[in-house]
């Protein structure tokens, strides 16, 4: 057998290739695509989460949600949470990537430390922050009082501040993803581009807008897309921050609401309808996003 491994393959070779990929394909179809397709069917049923009975009710779940104030509240809470977390993740991520792309003593170690919060389980991030922000014994309140910035302990996990706390904590946990993606791209920008800009007398700011920004536009497009999808559907961080705090309903975003419909009220049909709605919102937003930034999409 001496022919080229990829070109002009006879049908037997093609068949072998297909057979080799098929276990992965079967698992993806069975474990991801089938459940997602099934959730569309499930959203048309009235179904208890734990008992087998089910009844076809057409679009009634969707009609119910349309006039459900809780649905709209959770939608807006989700939008608020996503927009703030995405904005600051991107700004901080890019700024941090620019710093960590410079040469300085101990750079490797610093990069490792700064990326690490992204690698830990969410439950750890949540207990760290709940302890830092504890209203009576937390070190944050201790400092604020000791430095005279606040006069009374602030209830960070109470109704008034829990959204802010969750946003700050999420930025802390997820901006390293942006940092990592941008840093990987920055390292591939040829040094000559900066040398040339320097010779032309360009300031640091102009070097950023004229050399760096055009180079990272493509990856920025992808990163913002991925972060938006993952922040809008973020469940564990938001749910665990709200759990046990008594103020959970002030951060009840769509994913949390879908979970609660399914496992607190046992309405699997409604839960599935919420999942389908999230899916639809994401598809529409992605299409609009690609339309708005066609140029970046081509580079990305």
């Amino acid at each position: 057998m001496t022919q080229h491994p990829t070109r002009g393959q006879p049908w037997r070779q093609q068949l072998v290739g297909f057979l080799v990929v098929s276990p992965a394909l079967v698992l993806i179809l069975a474990l991801t695509l089938y459940p997602v397709a099934y959730s569309i069917w499930l959203s048309l049923l009235e179904k208890h989460s734990f008992f087998p009975q089910e009844r076809f009710i057409g679009l009634e779940n969707y009609i119910y949600l349309w006039s459900d104030p809780e649905f709209w509240t959770s939608f807006w809470l989700g939008v608020v949470y996503s927009i703030w977390t995405i904005f600051f993740q991107v700004v901080l991520g890019v700024a941090a990537a620019l710093i960590l792309n410079e040469t300085f003593v101990g750079r490797g170690l610093v990069r490792g430390i700064v990326l690490f919060p992204y690698m830990i389980p969410t439950i750890v991030a949540v207990i760290l922050w709940k302890w830092l922000l504890n209203d009576t014994y937390g070190v944050v309140n201790y400092w604020l009082l000791a430095l005279g910035i606040a006069h009374d302990p602030i209830s960070w996990l109470g109704a008034d501040h829990i959204m802010l706390s969750t946003i700050v904590m999420s930025i802390w946990q997820f901006f390293p993803f942006v940092l990592l993606s941008i840093l990987a791209r920055l390292q591939t920008i040829p040094e000559e581009l900066y040398e040339a800009a320097k010779v032309d007398g360009a300031s640091a700011l102009r070097r950023f807008t004229h050399v760096t920004l055009p180079q990272i536009r493509g990856i920025l497009f992808v990163v913002i897309l991925l972060r938006s999808i993952w922040m809008f559907t973020k469940f564990d961080t938001v749910w665990l921050m709200g759990e046990g705090a008594g103020a959970g309903r002030f951060i009840r975003t769509l994913p949390v609401y879908a979970y609660m419909r399914t496992l607190t009220y046992y309405q699997a049909g409604l839960g599935a309808a919420l999942a389908v709605i999230m899916f639809a919102i994401l598809i529409v937003s992605t299409v609009v996003y690609f339309g708005l930034f066609r140029e970046e999409a081509d580079i990305g």
Binding site: T2, P5, A24, V114, L115
Partner: protein, 280 residues
């Protein structure tokens, strides 16, 4: 000292300042966790708080190992994540090889499909998954959990392995094939040794992804003795008075494996294909 030199110095200074602030914000919460985990209960709640434990003790760890199900959760996490990684790696290494080495109709469509499922969020999959698992009758088993972990790891792993196989020059296999080696021999003796670093790195990323899961375990597992770490540790909160020393000790014990794995793969992260190496 000339103005030019002064400017350069202040630029250097601001880089070190920025790097210092970045390290501080990332490391302080962990420092605080470690510090708290070695404090006796009275010191945990002391005001003003002590930064270095004045009366360090291992009592929190002793209680964690003897009075809670921590060791069971730890073993469950290892077993379920390990099995999910084995299953995922086996099928995705084969899949990635096929996607980069063979040509057949629909190949690009399959690659597109994988990228698409890579963007699916767990919350959209877990609700129907839960109902289906109940219908099949495997709810509350580790088997269901391994399948669930595989469902969210596989697209990620396959995508990563494909990117990795693309960096291995095809000419080397061609040479082996021309020399009369069969396809299997070419794969075992030429491709695998070259792919090994990528396979190891990808396995670790996949392991971290599985190790960190919360939502699937929360929904699919009801029995205490089958829980994995993230869910088990969350349930430590469900007592009247929150035992922060104990919880911080638990947090530290979950973080250590993550830290060890992270240190081994860190150098892969910042390379070109590293940007695709993370999820969530």
């Amino acid at each position: 000292m000339s103005i030019w030199r002064l400017r350069r110095l202040s630029a250097r200074g601001s880089i070190y300042l920025g790097a210092g602030l970045l390290v501080l914000q990332a490391a302080f919460p962990f420092f605080w966790m470690v510090s708290t985990s070695f404090k006796p209960p009275t010191e945990v709640f002391a005001q003003p708080p002590s930064f270095i434990p004045e009366d360090p003790t291992l009592d929190n760890f002793r209680r964690l190992f003897t009075a809670t199900g921590f060791l069971t959760y730890f073993r469950n996490s290892l077993v379920v994540s390990g099995l999910a990684v084995l299953l995922t790696m086996a099928v995705s290494a084969a899949g990635a090889y096929s996607l980069t080495r063979y040509r057949y109709p629909g190949r690009e469509k399959i690659a597109g499909l994988i990228l698409c499922t890579y963007m699916f969020a767990p919350i959209m999959v877990v609700i129907p998954f839960f109902i289906l698992v109940k219908k099949v009758g495997i709810e509350n088993t580790h088997f269901a959990l391994v399948l669930a972990f595989t469902s969210f790891c596989l697209p990620f792993t396959l995508w990563l392995m494909r990117a990795f196989f693309e960096t291995i020059p095809i000419e080397l296999e061609e040479a082996a094939l021309v020399d009369g080696a069969g396809r299997v021999r070419a794969v075992v003796y030429v491709v695998l040794p070259l792919a090994l670093p990528g396979i190891i790195a990808t396995s670790i990323f996949t392991f971290i992804l599985a190790w960190n899961d919360y939502i699937f375990t929360r929904i699919l597992i009801a029995s205490d003795e089958l829980k994995t770490l993230p869910v088990g540790v969350q349930d430590l909160f469900h007592s009247a008075l929150i035992d922060w020393g104990l919880i911080m000790a638990a947090g530290m014990m979950i973080t250590i494996p993550a830290l060890l794995f992270f240190v081994t793969v860190q150098r892969y992260l910042i390379r070109g294909w590293g940007a695709g190496a993370v999820k969530g």
